[in-house]
Structures are given as structure tokens and as C-alpha cells.
């Protein structure tokens, strides 16, 4: 294919300042408007959620049975639910919970995935073949079923929740990390390090991990929305976050039950949830496109 496109080269004697890979990526990311909007949205939302905890803790649980469910008004911007609780607070707190669980589960997922992928990629050979075959098999099983079983057997503590969710979402990360490690292994600077006498452990620590961290950060951004989706899914089935805490998933499920009479109880939590997922997806896609030109959609 290279024969088709002319090579743009410099006039002999002129040297432009070099662009590092990261600078190029940052520049490309900034040009991706959707990704920027997504990132800003998530940042603002996270900030508001944090503020909500600090400013008015407990407002999400304050019931007002006499009031009951009311449509959005100036007193309650997003209305109230059937127990008279202010929906705006509930949605913000729900967001906090959803985002926190999302981040925690992503962390678990990243740790497992990176370790698994790095070991498989670095050791190579039969170990790698077996480990990756396991990943293939797990990838095709309905692991959510097993998460549900785990929650049923061991109880529905929130810590267990995000660990179980994380344990289901590490597969892609493992594959990516393995790919990175394998390609890094072959690159010359590893041979150079070996020639200089560095032991295997030093090579991994000083050379490979920094290179891999960038890719990990990017794909982690894409794991967060899928993990949040899973948490909402479980909450919808009643197996996720338990009362009195509520995540967006529980709010949506509650809203669904009364959607004909009080549609705002379904619409607003759904809106916030979808917008957040949107933003995270755009941001993650943008990051991935910015760094990996081949994977870019154009």
C-alpha cells in the first residue's frame, strides 16, 4: 500500500520538533469534540455527586409520606417518589453509588486483567496458549449467571458486589495487556536491557509496566461503563445495591414499576444513567482512537 501514497518528507536541512506518541494522541483527542464533551460531562457529574454527599448527606433518605409522589416542581426539581423522597437527591446519590461501584469494580478488573495478561504474555509458549484458551472459554460463558449465584450464596454486601462484577470484566483487559507485553518483549530495547545484564524482574518493572500503563488507562475508561451497566442490571433484578442505599439501577427499576402513573420516576434516572454511559463511551472511544491509529474508525 505504501506505493500508493507519496512520502511527505522534509527539505534537507530543516528539522521539525519531534512529536512524542503521547503529544500526538493528546492533540488528536482534543480534536474529538464528542470525547471532550463526554469527559467534561463526567467530570462535572462526579463533582456534583461529591458535593452532594458533602453538602446534604441523608437528604436522599428523608421521607415525606404525606407528600407522596409529585411531579417535578420548583420545590423538588425532579419530583418526589412514592415515599415523598426528593428525586434530585436520590438521583445524585444514586449516581455516587453507581460511579463508585463502577470505579471499584473497574479497579478489581484492571488488577486481575493486567496480572493475568502480563504473565501470559511474558511467559509465552504453552502457558500462554493454555491461559488464553481459558480466557476464550470464559468469554463465551454467561458469567453474569455466576455472579448472581455468588451473590445469592455469599450475600449481597456491596464489597462483594463490585468484586464479583470486577471478576467478570477482566477478560478484554487481559487480552490487551498480553498483546502489549508480547510486542514489547520483542522490541529491541528489551534485548538491549538483557544485554546490559538486567534481570527479568527488573525488565518487567522498569521497562514494560510504564509502556503498558497507558493502554491500560485507556481501556479502563471503557470498562467503567460496562461495569456500571452490569451493576444496574443486577440492581434491576434486586440483587445489586440494597436499600436504603440505591443506585441508578434500583431507581430505574422502582420507576418502572409505576411508570404509567408516575413516568418521571423512570425517565430522569434513565436519562442521567444513559447520559453518563454515553459520555464514558465517547471519552473511552476517543482515547482509544487517539492512541491507536489503526483502531481508529477512519
Amino acid at each position: 500500500m505504501s506505493a500508493e501514497f507519496p512520502i511527505v518528507t522534509q527539505h534537507a536541512g530543516e528539522i521539525e520538533p519531534g512529536h512524542s506518541l503521547w503529544q500526538d494522541a493528546w492533540h488528536r483527542l482534543r480534536q474529538n469534540k464528542l470525547a471532550v464533551i463526554g469527559g467534561v460531562f463526567v467530570a462535572i457529574l462526579s463533582l456534583i455527586c461529591l458535593l452532594a454527599i458533602v453538602i446534604a448527606p441523608g437528604s436522599y433518605a428523608k421521607t415525606n409520606l404525606a407528600l407522596g409522589a409529585t411531579a417535578p416542581s420548583s420545590a423538588h426539581w425532579l419530583g418526589t417518589d412514592i415515599l415523598g423522597r426528593d428525586m434530585l437527591s436520590r438521583i445524585l446519590f444514586g449516581g455516587c453509588i453507581s460511579l463508585s461501584v463502577g470505579l471499584a469494580a473497574t479497579l478489581v478488573s484492571v488488577i486481575i486483567g493486567v496480572l493475568y495478561g502480563a504473565i501470559s504474555g511474558y511467559l509465552g509458549g504453552r502457558v500462554d496458549v493454555i491461559l488464553m484458551r481459558i480466557v476464550d472459554i470464559i468469554y463465551s460463558l454467561p458469567f453474569v449467571i455466576f455472579v448472581i449465584l455468588i451473590l445469592v450464596v455469599f450475600g449481597k454486601h456491596i464489597v462483594l458486589l463490585f468484586m464479583a462484577i470486577g471478576a467478570v470484566s477482566w477478560l478484554d483487559m487481559a487480552r490487551i495487556v498480553r498483546g502489549q507485553v508480547m510486542s514489547l518483549k520483542r522490541q529491541e530495547f528489551v534485548e538491549a536491557a538483557v544485554a546490559l545484564g538486567l534481570r527479568k524482574r527488573q525488565i518487567i518493572l522498569r521497562h514494560m509496566i510504564p509502556n503498558v500503563l497507558g493502554i491500560v488507562a485507556i481501556y479502563a475508561t471503557l470498562i467503567v461503563p460496562s461495569v456500571m451497566l452490569l451493576e444496574a442490571f443486577l440492581s434491576f433484578l434486586g440483587l445489586g445495591v440494597q436499600a436504603p442505599m440505591s443506585s441508578w439501577g434500583t431507581l430505574i427499576n422502582d420507576g418502572r414499576k409505576t411508570m404509567e402513573e408516575y413516568p418521571w420516576l423512570l425517565i430522569y434516572p434513565s436519562l442521567f444513567f444513559s447520559l453518563t454511559l454515553f459520555s464514558l463511551n465517547f471519552l473511552g472511544d476517543g482515547l482509544r482512537d487517539a492512541l491507536d491509529v489503526r483502531a481508529s474508525k477512519d
Binding site: M1, S2, A3, E4, F5, P6, I7, V8, T9, Q10, H11, A12
Partner: protein, 325 residues
């Protein structure tokens, strides 16, 4: 009347870094049965010229800015898609540089080989298959009847290129454009492929445009040669004339760069500097920055001009008879 007449072809690529003028005012003609070699480095525009003729340039970044290419009365550059598809693969065929990526890995050889017949001729599948097997045998693939059912990855590089040749010639075209078909192959295989194309050319009486960066190939195969640099033609002559009465410093430099012809023990000759940035408008001769004969006057715009019958050069100083090689 010439088989193909190209006048003032201009093709550019509109990229983020600017407009790259890949082919800058190129004209040439080709008679029936001719063998024309186009020589140049990567980025000289030799391939883009021929892709432009076939309109195989991806049109978003690429654009044919102007010129005409008359082939049998039709201007290829302005022909409708229907006209074009009747010419491609039937009257003009093309073979490409990398046989590994130019064949569809998901289809059997039989599928791809007989496809030109199915597209252009009104024959049954069974008949097409018979002709395919015959074509395969003719290009030297052993056990053609069995091997035609294989997939491309089951063939070696040289075999794949033979398949490409069979596929290109199965409709007996009037013109074959070969874009560096031997660059990706072993030297021994190169010679075989060259002989094969020569043989087929004799049998079919077709014209051949052979794109290459290898002067040696040109010497053994082409009657006429044109040298391109930075998107322009810098010299055009018969093969004999080109080597015996070289008329451009770039051609001379290319000849000097052939490792096999250099004295043992001396440093290998390389052309100093780098090819120019085609997104910038160049004043005067594009080779001047790297030319050992360059002078102030070389900054003026210069045209390709005949200095002898059938020998043209774009070097101002040679045109003025100031230098010879």
C-alpha cells in the same frame, strides 16, 4: 494512432499536511506492442501515474486535477463508471507489487482467476474454469487442475505472482500495467517472472508498462524508458539511448548507485539529500537541491524537451549542451 496517449496528467492528494502533488504534468504515449519502463524512487509518482489512468486512486484524499488519457478513443480520466469497468480487466489489466496482499485470502484461486472472464465475457462457469486451468498451466503452475482449488496462502510468493499474471492476461488485454511485480520476490524468481511476462507479451502482442526502481530490469526488458522524480518526468528515451547517452543528472546518479557496478573496496555511492516535500511548491528543477551540477539557473522552471529524436530531458543544462555524462 498510439494505443495510449497521456497528456498533462496531474494528480494530488489533499492531506492534513497540505496538498501533495504526486503527479505533476506528466505526458507520454504508448504504441501497440510497446514495452515502456517507468523508473523512479519511492514517492516519485510512478505508481500513482498508472493508478490514475485506471482511476484506482482512493478519491477522498486523492484527486485527478487535470489532463487526459486517451485509450482507444476514450478518455480514461473522464469515462463513466460503466465505460471504465468495461475497460478494466478486459482491455487494460494490472498486476501489483505484493502478491500476498493483492489476492483475496477468503476466496479460492479458481474464483479469482476466472472472475475477469465471468465479468467480461459471456461464457459458462464450466468453460471459464477450463480456461482458468489452461491459463494457470501456461504461467508455469504445476498440477494446475488440482491447485486451482487452493487458497492463496497455500502458494509461495512466486507462485502467487504467476497466478496474478494469469489472472491479468486471461482476457487477452491490449495493455498490461505491471507495478513493481518483482520487488517483493527473490532474485531468482524475479528472472522467471520477467521471462514469463516477456513470453506472454510476445504471444499476445500486447503493450506493457513496467514500473520499477530497478534499472537492471529496465535494461533487460524495456524498449523505451521514462524516468520520474518528484512527480515529474525528467528523462524519456529508448533503453539504449538512456544508458549510452544519459541526459539527466538524476538518471546518471541512479546508474552510479547500482551496487554491483561499483568498484570493490570503495564507499558505495548514494545520492546525497532526500526527496523533496511534495506538499510545497517547488521552484525550478526538483532535483537541483541534490544535484552536483546545479547552478543558479536551475531555479527557473524547466520543461521536458527533446534533445535528439526520441530522447527528451528536463535538465536545463543538458538542454543547453553545457554538460554531458
Amino acid at each position: 494512432m498510439p494505443l495510449l496517449e497521456v497528456t498533462n496528467l496531474r494528480t494530488s492528494f489533499h492531506t492534513r499536511h497540505g496538498i501533495v502533488r504526486a503527479v505533476n504534468d506528466v505526458s507520454f504515449s504508448l504504441e501497440k506492442g510497446d514495452t515502456l519502463g517507468i523508473v523512479g524512487e519511492s514517492g516519485s509518482g510512478k505508481s500513482v501515474t498508472c493508478y490514475s489512468l485506471m482511476r484506482l486512486i482512493p478519491q477522498p484524499p486523492g484527486r485527478i486535477e487535470g489532463g487526459a488519457a486517451l485509450f482507444g478513443g476514450v478518455d480514461l480520466l473522464k469515462a463513466s463508471p460503466e465505460q471504465l469497468s468495461k475497460i478494466r480487466g478486459k482491455r487494460i489489466s494490472m498486476i501489483f507489487q505484493d502478491p500476498m496482499t493483492s489476492l483475496n485470502p477468503y476466496l479460492r484461486i479458481s474464483e479469482q482467476l476466472i472472475e475477469p472472464l465471468l465479468i467480461h465475457e459471456n461464457i459458462s462457469r464450466a468453460d471459464a474454469l477450463k480456461r482458468g486451468i489452461a491459463a494457470l498451466a501456461e504461467v508455469g503452475v504445476p498440477d494446475a487442475e488440482k491447485r486451482i482449488r487452493s487458497y492463496p496462502h497455500e502458494f509461495s510468493g512466486g507462485m502467487r505472482q504467476r497466478v496474478m499474471i494469469a489472472m491479468a492476461l486471461i482476457t487477452k488485454p491490449e495493455l498490461l500495467i505491471a507495478d513493481e511485480p518483482t520487488t517483493a520476490l527473490d532474485v531468482t524468481v524475479q528472472a522467471q517472472i520477467l521471462d514469463l511476462v516477456k513470453k506472454m507479451q510476445r504471444e499476445l502482442g500486447m503493450a506493457v508498462i513496467w514500473i520499477t526502481h530497478d534499472l537492471g530490469v529496465v535494461a533487460g526488458f524495456c524498449q523505451r524508458v521514462q524516468v520520474m522524480y518528484a512527480g515529474r518526468l525528467v528523462e524519456r528515451a529508448t533503453a539504449d539511448e538512456l544508458f549510452q547517452n544519459t541526459a539527466h543528472p538524476y538518471t546518471r546518479a541512479l546508474q552510479k548507485s547500482i551496487p554491483a557496478l561499483q568498484p570493490k573496496g570503495a564507499a558505495l555511492y548514494t545520492i546525497p539529500g532526500m526527496p523533496p516535500d511534495l506538499s510545497r511548491n517547488l521552484e525550478g528543477c526538483p532535483f537541483a537541491p541534490r544535484c552536483e551540477y546545479a547552478q543558479e539557473q536551475c531555479k527557473q522552471p524547466v520543461e521536458l524537451k527533446d534533445i535528439a529524436p526520441n530522447h527528451a530531458t528536463a535538465c536545463l543544462r543538458v538542454q543547453k549542451n553545457e554538460i554531458t555524462f
